[in-house]
Amino acid sequence: MAFLFSIAALVPLNSKGHYIHWHFIDISVANLIVIVLIVVTFIAALLAPFPGRRRRKESHE
């Protein structure tokens, strides 16, 4: 456990922030990654097959 604390961070993000400018939009790379991940996760949740289909079909019959 002490090992975890002594690391502080494997990939510390304390260096100068990176930003993307597009027209009047100015967004940090970090925030953009988070937002993209939210959208990707949402789409994945909609599309990914959900297990247990056979069990649900049996409950119908």
Partner: protein, 320 residues
């Protein structure tokens, strides 16, 4: 339970489910969710850590940029600083923000009274012991009338454009500013020693957790704002969403931040009031979506639900 027959409204009513049920272990689901989220949190914390940029003290500020400090101190004394001219809730010296006839801040009034000349300059200088030159300057200031004070301040302000900082002293070439040069120079020395940080807090007693005065003083200068701009945290840099360094910030504030980038929000003196008004309106719309025809039809028209319930629709289509 009473029943009556009326038209089925697909965006308001839900059909009664007469289909099957499948086994569901709610406790197991909750436990797995907790474990997964806890592990993910642990992973992110170990990999990325969290930011902790040290707070800026008035001592740090005045040592890093004594001219900015002294200029700000002057603006507190001559009543031209942002705090001095803010209006409610700090004082009556400025027009508060409004949305049309709604002047909410003004109507609530001055509840956190701040007199910048007294609270940020004169009172702190008054606590310094064994300062005969300063004591004389303060007495001279106190005895003078408003016209005299104004003349001294104007003379010093005009000359302060060529302010320098030499051998630990703030130097402004003026001979008609009365006690003002001594007061500004001594306040700068007090700030550089750290004593001003403490005095602005202890004005409220030994124990305090209220940082209103030092924070207002700090934010009246350029130093804090310049550091924030370097970190991309300014309002016109979409700063409300951002965090220091490369850390993700508050992406959920994207819409609140957006308004500050466009007129009239970024040009109006009541820009904050306008943004808050718009956001409260939009929050109310989100809250009342189920009751707003048109808006509540969007899900049915978008048809994303067909992906969510595709198994159900497939099975229903297949059944006799």
């Amino acid at each position: 339970m009473s029943t009556r027959t009326r038209g089925f409204r697909p965006d308001v009513d839900a059909p009664e489910w007469k289909g099957g049920h499948s086994p569901y272990d709610i406790i197991k689901e909750g436990t797995i969710a907790l474990l997964v989220i806890a592990l993910l949190t642990l992973l992110l914390a170990v990999i990325f850590g969290s930011p902790d940029e040290s707070a800026i003290t008035i001592k740090k500020w005045s040592n890093a940029d004594p001219i900015d400090f002294a200029t700000t101190a002057l603006s507190e004394l001559n009543g031209t600083s942002t705090t001095a001219t803010y209006g409610a809730p700090y004082n009556h010296n400025g027009p508060s923000q409004h949305i049309g006839p709604l002047q909410l801040a003004k109507w609530v009034g001055v509840r956190i009274p701040i007199n910048t000349a007294q609270d940020f300059v004169l009172n702190p200088l008054g606590v310094l012991p064994n300062q005969p030159v300063l004591d004389t300057a303060l007495k001279t200031w106190k005895r003078a009338n408003a016209t005299t004070k104004s003349a001294w301040l104007n003379a010093y302000t005009n000359a302060s454009t060529k302010m320098t900082f030499v051998n630990g002293n703030v130097l402004v070439k003026t001979s008609t500013s009365g006690p003002v040069p001594v007061m500004i120079n001594d306040l700068t020395m007090m700030a550089r020693s750290g004593a001003l940080d403490q005095d602005l807090l202890n004005g409220n007693g030994f124990y305090t957790t209220d940082y209103t005065e030092p924070l207002l003083f700090l934010s009246d200068g350029q130093y804090l704002g310049n550091l924030a701009t370097e970190q991309h945290l300014s309002g016109d840099q979409w700063g409300m969403m951002n965090e220091t360094g490369n850390y993700p910030g508050q992406s959920w504030l994207w819409l609140y931040t957006f308004w500050y980038q466009i007129p009239p929000f970024n040009t109006s003196a009541s820009g904050d009031a306008l943004v808050w008004g718009v956001m409260m309106l939009l929050s109310a719309v989100l809250l009342f979506v189920p009751l707003i025809p048109g808006l509540r039809s969007i899900p049915r028209r978008l048809k994303i639900y067909r992906l969510i319930w595709r198994e159900h629709y497939r099975d229903s289509a297949g059944s006799p």
